[in-house]
């Protein structure tokens, strides 16, 4: 590849420098050796072909001929735009056919939206639970007793009146 520089206004000053400009004008652009165009073309078509077959298999659709591959594949295809009739419709006042083209469209709920496939990593990525223990509460172990003030009773567990068994025996 080469680049030529043209000046639409011939100028004396510019022409004076033309002797070294000649060297700059041609710039080699092939950095990686000569290109085998046939080989490149072959490689690109092969890659495209491979992509095409891969996607055709995935979506059950022949993209080249624009028709579903097999009727019992993973996806059932219906046209989203009306199939063009070979004969152009003419306006006829009493023709129902003109408007009765709903069967050419698929119903909204029939449009299949491919669900994004879950990546395999997602299934494996269950975070290991380090802390599987739960904090219990102190009230789980001890019972609440409202307004418990330290009473004198607890300090003097003895009842004030002690039955004197010995006296009874004497009398």
């Amino acid at each position: 590849m080469s680049v030529e520089i043209y000046y639409n206004k011939p100028h004396n000053d510019l022409f004076q420098t033309s002797h070294f400009k000649k060297d700059i004008q041609k710039v080699k652009r092939i950095l990686f050796g000569p290109v085998d165009h046939e080989e490149t073309q072959r490689f690109v078509t092969q890659e495209l072909e491979r992509e095409l077959t891969h996607h055709s298999e995935r979506w059950n659709f022949d993209f080249k001929h624009e028709r579903p591959l097999s009727p019992n594949g993973a996806y059932e295809w219906k046209p989203a735009t009306p199939v063009k009739l070979a004969k152009p419709l003419k306006r006829r006042p009493s023709s129902e056919m003109e408007f009765d083209n709903h069967d050419l469209y698929c119903l909204p709920d029939q449009i299949c939206k491919p669900k994004p496939r879950k990546a395999v990593e997602d299934d494996e990525q269950t975070p290991p639970k380090i802390n599987h223990k739960m904090q219990s509460l102190i009230t789980d172990f001890m019972q609440m007793k409202k307004n418990a003030t330290p009473s004198k009773k607890s300090l003097n567990p003895r009842p004030s009146k002690i039955p004197r068994l010995s006296n009874q025996g004497k009398s």
Binding site: N131, Q135, I138, T139, M144, A148
Partner: protein, 260 residues
Amino acid sequence: MFEARLVSCAVFKKVLEAIKELLNEASFDCSESGIQLQAMDISHVSLVSLMLKSNGFDKYRCDRNITMGMNLASMSKIFKCANNDDTVTIKAQDDADIVTFMFESKKQEKISDYEMKLMNLDQEHLGIPETDFSCVIKMPSAEFARICRDLSQFGESLVISCTKEGVRFSTNGDIGNANIKIAQTSNFDKEEESVTIDLQEPVTLTFACQYLNHFTKATPLSPQVQLSMSDNVPLVVEYVIPDLGHIRYYLAPKIEEDEN
């Protein structure tokens, strides 16, 4: 009339330090037997039980049982105004809504009075069941504080497992594991530094480090700490306050989720 006097307010300062991180406010129940406090932390995971016996005070008078609800942060502010060797007198009238703290310097040349408003707190006392613990560990309190502090860096849960070989504290975290084993010591000359294990059966329990670190704020109160454990009951961490009473912390264990 209630009046309690301690020659050195250092102990009271330490008691406050030991509870003010867990509790915002607390009711001090004053009776003939002494001053008692029982309160749960805000998340109801731990319980503090403080007992200051009347005969541990230099002067103690309690005509009628009174309950004084106090804001611990405010109380702590007041005690920050006192020197460690000041004498403190706590005074309150019966049915009063204020409490007075009086600090007297050692040489009696300075007397400061602080009055604090009391609070009406909803009292929720828990009945602490009598438990025969499967194992009771006594160890230097500073050692226990160090273990809790060190291991809490690695994970939020601390596993305490006690066997006849000794006690193992372990934790598990993002960066790895940490284990500290402590064996019973046979040195009896220094009781304060010894580790004794009274074991009925081996126990392994898991606790939240956060609370244990709050409990160890009581370390200055006592050279020894006693840990009592049984399967599926709260851990008891007890610090004996020499000549005055004790402070006990109860901590609910972390349990397996499916056990409810």
